[in-house]
């Protein structure tokens, strides 16, 4: 007989519970933790007693191991009101479920849970996601270890500390998680997207619903197309429209193109007029034209502006990093005259006009040009972006090199 400091959930489920007088009270069915702690604290036990299934405030308890079997001795069992506690049923809601491994950036399955007992209580410290946990559940871990030992082999075990866990997959969503999905949100949107793709559809929707539009749009852009479509169809219309508004118009147009007409129209109507008009315009371009790929988020200045005015304007606009490298110079009819670089602005005299320092030999494309030629031109002239004009040389938008690469990757995948 020995007292235990750490233990696994799988080993104690089904164990007998004793009163201090060593009367059998019942069998352990589930452990309930308070997840507002950094490491969830055990607050209640669900027992199967003669009267049925009941939850009790566990208070401090002793765990005793005798001949390989575990017994719980509870000092006193009080009825508990769980409605005020941010609680989770571990066996029902966490064990065997999928959780997100924030550091490993993937979705794993909970094979077992590990607790630590300290004087202030018993806490959930780690999640077992390894083979050893599986074998322990099957009752094979010990015999196998015994067999492997003479050969100097061991069973690979894998634990995740609880603070690297994100329990997205809670089946009962009325439970409030203290800071929803916060750990996940520290990752790069592209990594978050990879994780979301692994989740089941309902969890994907819940997740996107929880985060704010700005972040949702960033993540959404990085998702695979089929996930994007399924999300747009399943998210509340308002949320879906908000996300689309925050996205670059060209990407929103891409996605809406692939939705069915009715749904796309519904979303466009829900979006703010300014954003949806832009998207609608882009959607009119046939798929193999340059226009369908361009973004309308570009920065352009009138030729009469001075270098100082331009820099002031840039400070005000605070453009995203991908659009700041190419600044376009227009005449009064919106016609594209030339480009200036940040370098040009910095080294020039503040009072000089843009028209005098701009580079006039602009490589550009027309909106109805074929996409096939685009990659060639971009690589031939080593461009990071290329402006798109209409028949009258009026600037309509620009195409960024990432969009070109993305398109190439997509068409290559399709050809395979």
């Amino acid at each position: 007989m020995s007292a235990i400091k750490t233990f696994y959930l799988s080993r104690v489920l089904g164990s007998r519970i004793y009163s201090p007088e060593l009367d059998v009270i019942g069998k352990l069915e589930d452990i309930i933790v308070d997840i507002s702690y950094e490491r969830p604290k055990i607050v209640a036990l669900k027992l199967k007693t003669e009267k049925g299934h009941e939850e009790f405030d566990s208070g401090p308890f002793d765990l005793i191991k005798r001949r390989g079997k575990y017994y719980l001795v509870c000092k006193e069992l009080k009825p508990i009101n769980l409605s005020k506690i941010n609680h989770v049923y571990l066996a029902k809601q966490i064990l065997d479920r999928q959780i997100v491994d924030v550091n490993g950036r993937k979705v794993v399955r909970v094979n077992d849970l590990r607790f630590a007992m300290i004087p202030s209580g018993t806490f959930l410290v780690a999640v077992d996601v390894g083979i050893e946990g599986l074998l322990r559940r099957l009752g094979l871990a010990k015999p196998l270890k015994f067999l492997l030992k003479p050969f100097g082999l061991s069973i690979p075990s894998k634990f995740m500390p609880w603070d690297e866990v994100e329990h997205i997959n809670l089946p009962n969503l009325s439970i409030k998680i203290s800071s929803p999905y916060s750990k996940l949100l520290t990752l790069h949107p592209s990594d978050i997207a990879d994780i979301i793709e692994e989740l089941d559809r309902n969890s994907q929707i819940d997740f996107m619903n929880t985060i704010d539009e700005e972040k949702a749009a960033d993540v959404f852009e990085e998702l695979e197309q089929d996930v994007q479509i399924s999300l747009l169809e399943n998210l509340p219309v308002q949320k879906a429209a908000d996300v689309l508004e925050k996205m670059p118009a060209d990407e929103a147009a891409d996605i809406l193109d692939d939705l069915d007409k009715e749904k796309a129209e519904e979303l466009l109507n829900e979006m703010e007029k300014e954003a949806s008009d832009e998207v609608r315009e882009l959607m009119e371009y046939p798929e193999n034209t340059v226009g369908s790929l361009m973004t309308t988020d570009f920065i352009a200045f009138k030729k009469e502006m001075t270098v100082q005015q331009t820099i002031d304007e840039l400070r005000k606009l605070k453009p995203e990093s991908d659009s700041i490298y190419y600044l376009y110079v227009l005449d009064n009819d919106e016609k594209l005259l030339g480009t200036v670089s940040l370098r040009d602005l910095i080294i020039s005299d503040p009072d000089i006009k843009l028209v005098d320092i701009m580079n006039q030999r602009v490589i550009k494309m027309q909106d109805y040009d074929k996409i096939d030629d685009l990659a060639e031109i971009i690589s031939k002239y080593n461009l990071l972006a290329i402006p798109v004009v209409d028949n009258y040389s009026r600037l309509l938008g620009m195409i960024l090199i990432d969009d070109v690469i993305f398109t190439l990757l997509k068409s290559r995948k399709r050809k395979l």
Partner: protein
């Protein structure tokens, strides 16, 4: 956004969007094992067994409808749900069964590839390793998704069996009679054949596959009616093709008293009776069905095992990211291929044992499906209605009895 040959691809994509998971599953369901069983049934019993296709059809629709509904409502795969609701031990046992059964099934597919190409004069020692290499590359290089679409178009070629059957000039009167007045015998071989027919139509891996494709398609509860039709049409395809294979063999082989052992014998025997064109069509259909299933079976199995035990999985994952997934896939493929390459491999026994493994699994999985689909925590408002439950449980019960008989019969023998 770049879509060269836009119209062509777009048309195919729309076409596939209309097709859907039920129809794909329905086509894949007529794999090498299925074609073999139908051929044998037609050759030995003529039109007598055609009536079995009706209960097989009902069972197929009932079970697949439940799978589709579970996929739509939960957004989770069947393996996922079993793991979350049945616990580790049951899941482990089920998946040991799934692995064994599907290695056997994969071997049957390779037997189909070997047999069909032998009709065209290609040795199995060339055709089997070559097709295994092709299958491995298709899956590991991540081109599986596009290949699936191509195969789907190919699977339309399964309708060659309709032509094969018509070339044999079947007796429509007799066919009609056998459906209206089912002929039931309680002779051992007859019963085994009936069970074999229903067993090959309803197999466990099909349930995993259908549920996953419903999810992948992103169907939602509003789509339920559409999905039901999809399942019904898929089941009709399965049964119609089965019907014509039986008819093709019954009209030619049975009438002339020719005995066959496997599907390729049927193709060879068809030649003098229905012309070499019919024979080649039969063999071609067998080849397409076999290689399609040889791709899908190992990958679907590996996927559901990984889903259940929390390993990374998916055709878009690299070898490095999902080692367990590709290891399981490769083992299934290699073992399936290896069995067929053993000289004088006991093919009939292998098919039989694969069926027995399927037979043991089917009632267990059905039991859990029935339990989960009635669980409000899982299905919300979409649990079974009384009608569903009556039809569902009686289907389950009949299949359980059939499976028990199927398992016990060879042991008694």
């Amino acid at each position: 956004m770049v879509k060269q040959k836009t119209n062509f691809w777009k048309k195919i994509l729309i076409f596939l969007a209309v097709l859907g998971p039920g129809i794909i599953t329905g086509s894949v369901d007529n794999d090498a094992g299925g074609i073999t069983t139908y051929s044998l049934a037609g050759a030995i019993y003529g039109y007598k067994l055609i009536w079995t296709l009706i209960p097989a059809f009902i069972a197929l629709v009932v079970i697949q409808e439940m799978n589709a509904r579970m996929g739509i409502v939960t957004g989770k795969g069947l393996a996922d749900l079993i793991r979350e609701n049945a616990g580790v031990k049951t899941t482990f046992l089920i998946f040991i069964g799934v692995l064994i059964a599907n290695i056997g099934n994969t071997a049957t597919e390779f037997a189909g590839i070997a047999g069909s190409l032998e009709v065209f004069g290609v040795s199995k020692y060339i055709s089997v390793p070559l097709s295994a290499i092709v299958v491995w590359f298709i899956v590991v290089r991540g081109t599986y998704k596009s290949v699936e679409k191509i195969f789907l178009i190919f699977s339309l070629f399964l309708f060659v069996y309709v032509i094969s059957a018509l070339l044999g000039k079947p007796q429509w009167g007799e066919i009609g009679e056998s459906i209206i007045k089912p002929h039931v015998e309680f002779e051992f071989n007859y019963v085994t054949m009936v069970i074999g027919l229903i067993g090959t139509t309803i197999c466990p891996w099909m349930m995993f596959y259908l549920q996953s494709s419903v999810i992948e398609k992103g169907l939602k509860p509003d789509n339920y009616k559409y999905s039901l039709w999809d399942v019904v049409i898929g089941s009709i395809i399965t049964v119609v093709i089965a019907f014509f294979i039986i008819v093709a063999c019954a009209a030619t082989l049975h009438v002339n008293g020719i005995e066959i052992n496997e599907a390729k014998d049927a193709a060879i025997a068809l030649e003098p009776l229905a012309g070499s064109f019919a024979a080649m069509l039969f063999a071609f259909g067998l080849f397409i069905a076999s290689i399609f299933s040889a791709c899908i079976l190992p990958i679907a199995t590996a996927f559901s095992v990984c889903e259940a035990f929390g390993f990374e999985a998916g055709v878009d994952k690299s070898l490095k990211d999902a080692p367990e997934y590709y290891t399981i896939f490769t083992i299934i493929l290699l073992t399936g291929m290896g069995i067929i390459l053993i000289p004088d491999a006991p093919l009939i026994q292998i098919t039989l044992w694969a069926q027995v493994a399927n037979g043991i699994l089917l009632p267990i999985i059905l039991f859990y499906i029935m339990r989960m689909i009635n669980d409000k925590d899982i299905m919300g408002n979409y649990t079974n209605k009384v009608f569903h439950n009556v039809v569902g449980w009686s289907t389950a019960l009949v299949l359980i009895i059939l499976s028990v008989v199927l398992v016990v019969l060879p042991i008694i023998e």
